[in-house]
């Protein structure tokens, strides 16, 4: 076998052999060469050292909430529902600039509706002041009327037989 380092051919054999990944057939051939070639022997030795140094470099554990965060992002990215499909044409419509105005109108309307009406109680009209004399007079008038009524009724009773 030609020296992989000198010929720059089959360098992958050296790498795989150092990593213990070279298939058995090739490994036997390369092993024979390495035993005779100090350059390749040195390569294999130092490459195994690098391999071992790289083994020590262990990354940190993946966060426990990795899946949860991912599924959250997937949910956000999911296609819209059929309802959204129906209203989708409206999403890009011309009316967008009118949204702030409509929102302002809505807020004013809601404010007016929700406003507690201030009940203004009109001041009570001052009651007419009744003087005792007026009461007395009224009572007298009523008694007089009553008497007149009684008198007229008795007069009618007395005159009735004559007319009959």
């Amino acid at each position: 076998m030609d020296c992989p380092i000198k010929t720059q051919e089959n360098t992958d054999w050296l790498l795989d052999y150092s990593a213990g990944r070279l298939n058995e057939e090739r490994a036997v051939v390369l092993e024979r060469h390495v035993e005779m070639c100090t350059q390749c022997e040195e390569f294999v030795r130092s490459q195994q050292g690098i391999w071992s140094a790289l083994d020590d470099w262990q990354p940190a554990q993946v966060s426990a909430d990795f899946n949860r965060r991912l599924y959250q992002r997937i949910d956000v990215a999911k296609p819209a529902s059929w309802i959204r499909h129906i209203f989708r044409p409206l999403e890009t419509a011309f009316w967008r600039p009118a949204v702030p105005v409509a929102a302002a109108c809505l807020m004013i309307g809601a404010g007016l509706l929700l406003r507690t009406p201030q009940v203004t109680i009109p001041p009570a009209e001052p009651q007419a002041r009744v003087e005792p004399e007026q009461v007395e007079r009224a009572v007298d008038d009523m008694m007089m009327l009553h008497e007149l009524n009684v008198t007229s009724q008795s007069g009618q009773k007395m005159s009735t037989p004559k007319s009959m």
Binding site: T11, L15, G49, I50, L54, D56, W57, V62, F66, I74
Partner: protein, 200 residues
Amino acid sequence: MQQRVKEVMGASVALDCDAELMLRVKDGDGASFGLLLGKYRASVNHFLYRMVQDQAVSEELAQEVFLRVYRSRETYEPTAKFTTWLYRIATHLALNWLRDEKNERSQQRLDETSKDAPARELADRSPSVEQRLLRQVNVDEVRQAVAALPDKQRAAVLMHKYDEMEYSQIAKVLSCSESAVKSLLFRAYETLRVRLAHMA
């Protein structure tokens, strides 16, 4: 469904059960997406963490990877291995992030002790404290050496070393030839051997 996968991928390619799961996702099976997420969440996160070397950023990018997988379900076709497609998305996002963030600030962050690196237990007086400190220093050196690699070399090394990907698959992820990947890897490991010679 298996027949459908075989038709698309051809008889020479073994049935990729992940691709089959992805086709189920395409048909609206959310549980299959959950299975793929459970299977690759850690490896994608770790790959991205080693690429960008920032825990918060790598998780954010990993979320984006799976979000894109989910969003692309309707147009998904199993023309390659599922992992090739998955890592292509992840590598693309990482390389973009690195390109955007390659400035003085990110360099300073590399020099500092990473926030998410395991805390150094200085209060611990046990006999192994020295060994642990030494190991931490070594890990920091490895991190910095990997970070110093060109972006594509770094991606290739990480996929080769930690995800045990074949050269052909790395080539598909990076959209280059298999020989280019071998060359990338050989140069990358050479750089690492020089830089970390004292550790070898």
